[in-house]
């Protein structure tokens, strides 16, 4: 049981006073980020990334991942109290959370949401602890063709599982790939797509894109709604918490199902948002109280929150073991790893044991700390929400500018951020998903490299992607994911035909 030993060493690292301090700071910042409109998890981590450059990598990743947990928790607060999903994955939480709050059961809803989040995340971390070493051993057999197949699977899952029309997802994704290709070509060393602009030599940094697309774009969307902001009050006390906890074990089936859905959606990089919707939908169909969903059913809060957190946490598994992030925020964390000189992938588990297990241990502790922090501080965070948007908005814009500048100390990047912001507003309004775009910018170079190396090995034949069992399996999974909605539709059509016949 070498893993257990490693995990305990990890706990020893995560429990160092400095790391605990960083953890709490990260959670609090994360919840603030999750609560504020226009500052999402990905964007928040991107802005705060430069702050961690001077820290040791393990502390830095602990802080950044805790910001991520905090943001996941924070999203639930705004959804339940104000019917404003702070994050896309908490949209499903509003369906039953907000009605509960209106019925005066905000405390119950919040407790249920936070506890479910914790359960989901915990389940996913246990899964990561057990599975990560296995994946890492498997991944050692990976050549360029297998690597490309994993990227292929990642992007196909996006197309097949996303709620947006598939061709819009593809278009958004391909824009990301094209932006990633700009600048110096790493294989031949020649310039491409720069059209003579020296600023484009190094291509587009995805951090700038994240800050612009998610941060500035979100502010612009919120501006449309005007500056009016509805306030609200939240009270949460120990007796409500304890009472809700007594009630929760009744829903263990829903919890377990949501955990499994979340983990699966997190590993295949569909991410937290579809996971929460899927889990909510299934719970509604299966639950005996299904008809009551949408009117303030506690089960309707448990299902999406558990799945969203399980997915958000599970997304870190492919990031660490394969270098393929499962969500935009995981992609930003991956970018951080690369900046600190840590190359994610199977070798990370061999060469940087301390780092990997320190991170995994911090996931256990971070979620526990997070649960305590959010349960005790809800009124404070709700108060932040009552600060008018006309104060928050310029502060967030300035923060975005600082974040964009400090990535490369360049004011050109700040201008690029603004351009990305306007583009993000336009794309989001017209139904183009932004997450695949960002993932493609992050992974574009690596996917291309893997693709070209495989083709070089096979002298240009695409057959290399089906040349052995491992690579074919991944490619076929990818194709299934790509045509998932078509398959599903065909299946239901078959069933209805069988039923009517």
């Amino acid at each position: 049981m070498e893993e257990i030993l490693n995990l305990f060493q990890g706990f020893a690292i995560a429990l160092q006073p400095f790391n605990i301090m960083v953890m709490i700071l990260g959670i609090v910042l994360g919840v603030v980020i999750g609560v504020l409109p226009g500052l999402g998890g990905a964007n928040g981590v991107a802005i705060l990334l430069p702050l961690t450059f001077s820290m040791p990598p393990t502390s830095a990743i602990i802080m950044l991942s805790c910001i991520y947990w905090g943001a996941l928790f924070g999203g639930a607060i705004t959804s339940i109290l104000f019917n404003i999903p702070g994050e896309p994955w908490s949209v499903a939480t509003t369906f039953d959370g907000y009605p509960m709050a209106q019925q005066g059961k905000a405390g119950e809803a919040l407790t249920a949401a936070f506890t479910s989040s914790f359960v989901g995340a915990f389940f996913a971390v246990v899964m990561i602890t057990l599975v990560a070493p296995l994946v890492a051993t498997l991944a050692l057999r990976f050549g360029p063709a297998e690597k490309f197949a994993v990227y292929f699977l990642a992007f196909c899952s996006f197309v097949g599982l996303s709620k947006e029309p598939p061709f819009k997802t593809i278009a958004a994704m391909m824009i990301g790939f094209a932006l990633a290709a700009v600048g110096l070509d790493s294989v031949t060393g020649s310039l491409r797509l720069t059209f003579g602009f020296t600023e484009l030599l190094n291509g587009f940094d995805f951090l700038i894109a994240v800050i612009g697309l998610f941060g500035i774009g979100e502010i612009l969307l919120t501006m449309e709604e005007g500056l009016a902001f509805r306030g609200g009050k939240a009270k949460i006390n120990l007796s409500v918490v304890l009472q809700t906890w007594k009630e929760l074990p009744r829903y263990w089936v829903t919890s377990l199902r949501s955990c499994v859905i979340g983990c699966w959606m997190g590993i295949t990089p569909a991410g937290a948002t579809p996971a929460s919707f899927m889990s909510y939908g299934i719970a509604k169909r299966v639950s005996p109280k299904g008809a009551n969903f949408g009117k303030g059913e506690i089960e309707g809060v448990i299902a999406p929150e558990t799945a969203a957190h399980a997915a958000g946490t599970a997304a870190l598994l492919p990031m660490l073991s394969l270098g393929v992030p499962g969500s935009p925020t995981a992609a930003v964390l991956l970018g951080g790893l690369l900046i600190w000189g840590l190359q994610p992938g199977p070798l990370l588990f061999v060469e940087q044991k301390e780092f990997v297990w320190g991170l995994i241990a911090s996931m256990y502790l971070g979620n526990l700390v997070g649960l305590i922090v959010v349960l005790t501080c809800v009124p404070v965070f709700a108060a932040i929400l009552r600060i008018p948007f006309s104060i928050i908005a310029p502060l967030i814009l300035v923060l975005c500018a600082i974040g964009a500048y400090s990535v490369h100390n360049s004011t050109f990047d700040v201008a690029m951020m603004l351009v990305f912001g306007v583009i993000g507003y336009g794309l989001k309004k017209t139904g183009y998903p932004l997450a695949p775009l960002v993932l493609a910018i992050v992974l574009g170079d690596k996917a291309e490299e893997a693709f070209r190396q495989s083709l070089l090995g096979s002298q240009g034949s695409l057959g290399i992607f089906f040349s052995n069992g491992l690579v074919s399996t991944i490619m076929i999974l990818g194709l299934i994911a790509l045509f998932w909605s078509v398959i599903q539709e065909g299946y239901t059509r078959l069933r209805t035909r069988a039923a009517t016949a």
Partner: protein, 165 residues
């Protein structure tokens, strides 16, 4: 564009979507053009620099054509946004552009101060005391946090040089 002159008039969703899709398609054409210039043929190191982006460009153009086609078949009538809403959006975009444009010359701190003050006074209609507190406080906290604690240098202008910071 709708010619409806009621208070909630604005560009139609369909028209804007068609516009966005066309721009994306043109971007794809640009990518294809750039890739051809970089060379899509096989060389000594395997596929040339433009090989991969060339196909990416083809994908962009192809999916944009499909999106354009499905988009144009949608029903008319949905608004993209009301003109008033778009004005709100522009009232953020324009000052932010000035803010970003001024940053290399007057530094981040002064620019942020002016920007926050303008935003709060103009759009938020706050009294001068609140405006002054927030707009001076933010750059100050930023300075302590970034330059002092985390040692991240931010752009400075003539004022900072004068103060010797």
């Amino acid at each position: 564009m709708t010619t409806n002159s009621s208070s909630n008039a604005g560009p139609s969703h369909k028209a804007v979507e068609a516009g966005v899709t066309t721009v994306i398609g043109l971007f794809g054409v640009l990518v294809i053009f750039g890739s051809l210039k970089a060379g899509i043929k096989w060389g000594a190191e395997g596929p040339g620099a433009g090989f991969f982006p060339f196909y990416i460009g083809l994908f962009i153009v192809g999916s944009s054509l499909i999106n354009l086609w499905t988009g144009l078949r949608e029903d008319e009538g949905n608004l993209f946004a009301e003109w008033g809403q778009l004005r709100q959006v522009l009232s953020v975009v324009i000052p932010t552009t000035i803010y970003v444009g001024a940053m290399p010359f007057i530094g981040l701190y002064v620019a942020s101060f002016v920007f926050i003050a303008w935003f709060m006074r103009w759009l938020g209609k706050y009294n001068w005391l609140t405006v002054a507190l927030v707009s001076l406080g933010m750059p100050f906290v930023t300075y302590i946090l970034f330059e002092r604690w985390f040692l991240v240098p931010l752009p400075k202008g003539p004022l900072e040089n004068l103060l010797g910071l």
